[in-house]
Subunit: 190 residues, 2 copies
DNA sequence: GAAAATTGTTGAACAAGTTCAACTGTTGTA
DNA sequence: TACAACAGTTGAACTTGTTCAACAATTTTC
């Protein structure tokens, strides 16, 4: 059953009773998203938080010069969030696009706030997940500052082979913060 | 009184009763740290989480090549954390050094875990603070990817003038991810 | 207050990464 | 199946940032 992936994911992060687990999961609804479709586009308020059941997404921004900048990719068991837009009801700077036909479990803002209020364990769950994510973002920033594009490319394709294999070089380049021409030259070198 | 800064900070993030606020604050102890002294050095387990009352700190790592890479600076009202080391009792990759004579409120791991267990509002507080920090780290990464060193320098000195004024150019360069020679050239340009 | 250590500046040669343009190879799609 | 759209490759000229070395200015320390 589709909710099992979410349940397993939650249990990896916290200890939780099965009643609480059921309650949490009952608020999530499954949605299918076709390849190239958007779950969120820049300028709109993000009304959901999503957990990827199957498929792959790219989360990116487009800057003033028109360059696409990929924040991260989300495959199975990753979250699709824009905390700032979702919590503060602000227009988002992000685009969330399916790279292949995908399935996500979505929860809306009202239900999420209800969960926070009624189940303290949900606060704990998202506190722990946020802190883990924070550590990961700090490490990525440091890597960006002290490694060359080639080292970052090798790290990415080694660390996330399943995701990397689904991506075009253009998408990988926008994640690494380099042009796709330069990525092409890097790959030729080795 | 010294705890007032912490109380005000907490109240900016969540709604909280004054009893709970008192309870939380009662676990923090004031510590003075002399200029150039370390609150944490790379390889050790970080036993505290700190809230800066006065002074300024630099949080940085040293990579294999011996280059210092500054993660962030923490002045009044900022937190001094290494979540990964503190929560998982792992040796830290970070150094936390006072840039001037400073004062911090510290809480140890046992007390922090007690707070999490006894006061649900503490989970919420750190969930919210972590999520805000996460958003900030994502934005910084995007800025690093699409702006030049000069733009990043101007952004930093405009956004954090109080912190920037306390720092040497070498420290600022290590935060921006450039050499201090290049920062010197950037400053000459304008 | 002098010596030592650190920080900041400058230049020249170099390396990393971009831009633009032209071309090739793939993947949709009518 | 053909054609359009997009992804990938390559080269030349360019910009951004690094490295190293020498020197000047400032701060620390005894």
């Amino acid at each position: 059953m589709v909710l099992n992936a979410l349940k397993e994911h939650i249990k990896k992060n916290i200890e939780i009773s099965s009643e609480d687990l059921e309650t949490i999961c009952s608020y999530f609804k499954l949605k299918s998203i076709k390849k190239k479709d958007f779950l969120l586009t820049q300028g709109n308020i993000y009304k959901y938080e999503g957990f990827v059941i199957d498929g792959c997404f790219r989360i990116f921004t487009i800057d003033k010069k028109g360059n696409e900048n990929t924040l991260y990719f989300a495959a199975k068991d990753w979250w699709l969030m824009d905390i700032d837009s979702f919590m503060n009801q602000k227009p988002s700077n992000l685009n969330i696009q399916a790279l292949e036909d995908s399935q996500v479990l979505l929860i809306n803002r009202t239900d999420k706030l209800t969960l926070y209020q009624t189940l303290p364990v949900v606060e704990k769950l998202f506190r722990i997940m946020s802190q883990k994510a924070l550590v990961a973002w700090q490490r990525r920033l440091i890597r960006n500052q002290c490694e060359t594009a080639k080292q970052r490319y090798l790290y990415f394709s080694k660390t996330y082979p399943n995701i990397a294999s689904k991506l075009t070089d253009k998408q990988i380049a926008s994640y690494l913060g380099i042009t796709h021409e330069f990525l092409s030259k890097i790959k030729k070198q080795q």
